[in-house]
Amino acid sequence: MDEIESILLVEDNENDRMFMRHAFKKTNFPWKVQELHDGEEAIAYLIGNDPYSDRSKFPLPAVMLLDLNMPKKNGFEVLGWVRAQEAFKRLAIIILTASRRSDDVKQAYSLGVNSFLVKPATIEKLVQMVGCLRDWLHMNQVASLNDAVRK
């Protein structure tokens, strides 16, 4: 059974990344989190383009936490791209956004997202949310992306 090794956090807002780092620390989040700043970086990371070509430093993630509203390529574009790639389509993707719009929820699920989370308004609630995410991921069986890529 494949174990989770690392997780990608794709988020353009520096404050939100800082809050997430705080929540990961508070919840003893057990996995290595790689931070990326926009959709293009996320795609470059998955493909292993420069500067992410060294897989020992930038391992393929088991889960991607993906913001929707980002520069260059937004979350929907990244999600659509991932699901169209034979090598990456099994990657677990969890949207993490400020948006509560039902159209965004609908579109994300139509594009094949695994889950959709709304960023809470307080740090305390964010820590709670990340704690719940940690427990949920512990229970989940993730796909073996490496095999898919090798194929």
Binding site: Y109, V118, D135
Partner: protein, 153 residues
């Protein structure tokens, strides 16, 4: 979540079905559990056909808990079918299987399962699992299944 969650559990093993009912009760969760015991019955339920035509009695579920090893149509066939239905493809599907085979996990994700969980071997672990699943449902925004389609039935 404001509305009571409805779990539709597709499972052919009667013991597993009973354990799930017991675990939900033991966890003290306000979940309405609906059950079907094979893949064809599941499709009839979701389509609201035959004995399942009364949506008040057999409502569309908040999520589907899907065993892989189902008679008539197995879990993979169900996933394939569901993801091809324009109005149903967003339905949350949690695969719950006794199999720890990586091929089964991979194929479930390939076919669009939202999550894959392994059946716990003790009732206490099942209670924990149901609790965590319920917490996760509470935390996530769930997709709406097309309202027009629902009222047309």
């Amino acid at each position: 979540m404001s509305k009571r969650a409805i779990f539709l559990y597709a499972e052919d093993a009667e013991n597993d079905m009973l354990l799930m009912k017991k675990a939900i009760a033991k966890a003290g969760l306000d979940i309405e559990l609906k059950t079907v015991s094979d893949g064809e019955e599941l499709i009839r339920y979701i389509n609201g056909e035959g004995p399942f035509s009364d949506r008040r009695k057999y409502p569309l579920p908040t999520l589907l808990v899907l065993d892989l090893n189902l008679p008539k149509k197995n879990g993979f066939e169900i996933l394939k079918w569901l993801r091809r239905q324009p109005h149903l493809k967003r339905m949350i599907v949690i695969v719950l299987t006794a199999s720890r085979r990586q091929e089964d996990v991979d194929q479930s994700h390939e076919l669009g399962a939202n999550a894959v969980l392994v059946k716990p071997s003790t009732i206490d672990d099942l209670v924990d699992m149901v609790r965590q699943l319920s917490d996760w449902v509470e935390l996530t925004k769930m997709p709406n299944i097309d309202v027009k389609w629902k009222s047309a039935l």
